[in-house]
Symmetry: C2
Amino acid sequence: MPNAAGPGSGAAAPALRKGQTTRAAIVEAALAVARRDGLEGLTIGALAERLQMSKSGLFAHFGSREELQLAVLNRYAARFVDVVLRPALARPRGLPRLRALLENWLGQLAEEIEAGCILIAGACEYDDRPGALHDTLVSVVEGWKGELLRAIQAAQDEGHLDRRADADQMVFEIYGLMLMLHQDARLLRSSHSVQRARRALARLIESARPRTPGARAGRGLRRAQY
Amino acid sequence: MPNAAGPGSGAAAPALRKGQTTRAAIVEAALAVARRDGLEGLTIGALAERLQMSKSGLFAHFGSREELQLAVLNRYAARFVDVVLRPALARPRGLPRLRALLENWLGQLAEEIEAGCILIAGACEYDDRPGALHDTLVSVVEGWKGELLRAIQAAQDEGHLDRRADADQMVFEIYGLMLMLHQDARLLRSSHSVQRARRALARLIESARPRTPGARAGRGLRRAQY
């Protein structure tokens, strides 16, 4: 995952700091617009109105609409890292960390049901529109899939998951459940989608547990949870 | 699934028939545009240019852009019924029919990887835009989920799948695999997505097979396929 949060800028001149603060506030407002209308629905005009700024004032911070959209996408990715990935990395390597990743992702999606997930909606918007936004979206999604893959492989290394399980296949199936959760909750207003995704994730993990009773008992991990 | 194919119009006056033919040709062209640019990207202007017609000529057939978008969505749904659902209904009730449904859907998605699936892309476009398009999309998606549910329940009635399996949960997981196939193939240009979805579908069906060896052997159905 790209992490847009830069190093601290304690030594920056006050004018620069103020500029950065304004820029950050603009990106936050733009992120709210993009959640509602999609990255493609994010226009300088709509944002200027929302912020009660002039369009030229906005262009002073972002040279183009695409630059603003990219800043929003990177901000979203950085927050995703903070909320979903980073807390899980504090958990023990193996199944505990994988479970934390999945639970944090579920929690993030459950919160986003009203607003919409920029990564999932963006994948639909940009899957056939070449350009910087498409490329950034691909790198964010691939980065996140890479994190999931590493977590699964670590659980295999620790003996918590069967080494013969196809880790790439597991990433595919896990991601599909999250896409369905998003569609079911948003389009069909289903109230069961988080519960359904959680149940399927538990089954998926369970079916990849080592087959030898010794390995399972030896690790002290319980069945029927993920 | 709504079926937009109306009854035959053999007795219609020639002028009416010609009007219907033109309308059908416009809808076909509009469907191609919507596959590329999304239903939201379908504009009367772009379509008029593609068809080398005047905008007013188009408006003679479709009173509004929304009417055109609805016609495209209904045409897509009718074709989906013809290609995915109807051939499967010719197969024996139970697991053979369910497998045919899933294989036809996979085939349809595999063909749509370049053009994009209107149902999946539309779900992202309209999940939070109230209106006739949203409502029609919801009814198409719910109708299709209903067909899948009925096919699973019939397989349970026939003893091909365990009656204790949660059929709604299976629909959720199956649909998620198809969403992931679409995203992986289109956004990430993965060449394995159809194969991964097929493998996961086989595992999903296999895990819902009856547990008693008698029931399985008695039906003469083989394992490890779906």
